[in-house]
Amino acid sequence: MRKILLVATMSAVLAGCQATPEAEKPAGVEDRRPGAVTTPTTPSTSPGTQPVRPSTMSGNPLKDPSSVLSKRSIYFDFDRDDIKPEFVPLVEAHGKYLRENRGAKMLIQGNADERGSREYNLGLGQRRSDAIKKRLMLLGATEVQIESVSLGEEKPMCADHNEDCWYKNRRGDMLYGGEY
C-alpha cells in the first residue's frame, strides 16, 4: 500500500525544489565508488513547481497526499548512506516542517538489504538514519525532535532476492509520533 502511494506521489512536486524530481525506480547497478550515484533511466513526468501547502481538507500537510510531506521514505545505493539528489527535496521539506513545528517528534528507521550479517546490517541502517537526521538538523530541526534508529534487514519492504528488491529495502523511513 505504502509502495503504491510512493510511486503515485513520487513525481508530484515539491516546494522550493531546485532539483528536478525523478520518478522512483529501483537502482539498476551497484556502485561502491566514492561519489558514484545511480543514474535513473526513467525521466520525470512532471516539473517541480507546485508549492507545499496545508490541505484545505485535512489541515494536516503530513497526511495530504498532494503534499511532499506525506511521503516518508528515501532510498539508498548499495553500501552507501549519502542522500541521493532526487530525495533532497523530500528531506528538506521535512526539515522545514520540523523547524516550524517544534512540538513534532520524528523516529527515523534506517534499513538495509538482506545480504550479510544481521548485526552489521543494523550498523548500515543506523548510518543511513544518522545521515537523514544530520541533514534534518542542518535544516533547523533539533536533537530532541529526532531519534535515529536502525531496523537493519529485519523489516524488508520487498521479500525477493534480487537487486530491485534490495533497493527498496535500503531505505530510510521518517515517521512522526503516532505513525509507528
Binding site: 550479517s117 544481521r118 552489521y120 531519534e147 535515529s148 536502525s150
Partner: protein, 434 residues
Amino acid sequence: MYPLLNPLPLPRAFRAALVAFAVVWGEAHAQLSIEITGGGANQIPIVIVPFAGEAALQPNLSDVVEADLARSGLFRTLYAGPQSPPVNEATKVDLATWRARTADALVVGGVYPAQGGRYEVRFRLYDVPKQVSLGGVAYTITPAQARATAHRIADFVYEKLTGDRGVFSTRIAYVVKAGPRYQLQIADADGANPQVAITSNESIISPTWSPDGTRLAYVSFEAKKPVVYVHSLATGQRRAVASFRGSNSAPAWSPDGNRLAVALSREGGTQLFLLNADGTGLRRLSSSPSIDTEPQFSPDGKWIYFTSDRGGSPQIYRVSTEGGAVERVTFAGDYNVTPRLSPDGQSLVFVTRSSGRFQVASMDLATRQTQVLTDGARDESPSFAPNGKMILYASDAGGRGVLAATSSDGRVKQRLSVPAADVREPAWGPFPPN
C-alpha cells in the same frame, strides 16, 4: 550387587531446571528435524543393546543414545536387535561374539522400578577389542527424565571413546519465523523438547546464552527499534538492559557472566560499549567514525573481538577489554564478519564473503591459517558447541531459513529444519551444571 555402579541421582539444579521449563513455557508446535549430510573419516562401530526393561520409560533410552552418537558423525551404530535371554549391565557378555560382528564398543543396560514411582537406570560400556569394561553409571530418575538421562549416557560414551566431553545434554536457542510471528525457542541439542521463551510480532535476533546457562540476552524490535534484553529462563522474567536512545544490539557475555558488551548508537554511529548484566555501569569501549559491532569476549576475558569497517570494508579486529590499541585480525577478502572464538580460545570462526556467497570460515589464531567450513550461499550466525567440536549456523535451503551444523574440521554436516517455517539465529548453550 553392582559394585562398580554407584547410584547417582541427577543433580538438583538439573532437576529444578526441568520442572521450571514445564511450568513457565509453552510447548512449541514444530520440532527441529535433523538430517546428517556427512560423516567423520574414522567412525567407531558401536552397538547399543536395547536396555532390559526399557519399555517402562518413554522414549526408549537405547534409541536416544544411538541417535545421539550417530548424529555426532563419529560413530557407526550397528543393529543389535532384541536379545534372548535379555542382556543388561550385570550380564557377563560374550565380547568375542560382538567382536565377530565388528563392534569396537558395546553398551548394555537396564531400567528397574524404584520407590516412589522412580526408576533406576544402569548401564555399562565395553571396549570390545580389549575385552574390558570402560565403566558405567546408575541414575535414579523420574519417568520425565528419561530423555535427559539417555543424553547423559551418550555423553559418557562419547567422552570415554573420543576423549572429548559430549554435548548431548546441552540446549540450543534459535528464532523461528512463521508468517508474521517470531518465536525465540529453546530445544535440546537434538532438536527435541522445543519450548517457546518469547513470541513477538517483531523480529528477534542475536540470542546468546549466559555462561551458566540460566539467562539469554537477545535483541528484540518490539519497541520499533532494537533493544537488548536479558531473559531469565527459570522464571521467564526479562529486563531491558540496553534501551538507550538510538539502536541497542549485539549483546555478548563476559566469561564470568557479570558483564555484557553491546553495540549502541546513543552517541552517534554504531559503537562498542560495556555494561553490567543488570544494565548499570555503562562504559564506552570503541571510539571511531566506523561501524563497530558484533563484540565477542575471548574465553580468557582479556580481548574483545569485533567487526568494524574502519579499513573500508568490514573486517574482524580485536581490542583489550581495558581499551587501548586495536589490532586487525582478518585480511583476506573484503567482507569478514561475526567473530566467534572457540571455547579453548585457539581458533576463530567467522562469516566470509567470496564471489557473492557468504560462508563460515575458521582461522587458527596462532598460524592465521584459514579454512572455509561450509558450502552454502547465505551461511551466517556461527555458534560453537561448548566442546568446540561442532559449529551451529544459519543457512538457507530453497529460500527457507534452516539451521546447519558442521564439525570444526568441516567433515561432518547436519541440517536442522522446522517444517513450513524459517529458522535462524542459532546459539548453542553451555554445558549443563554437574
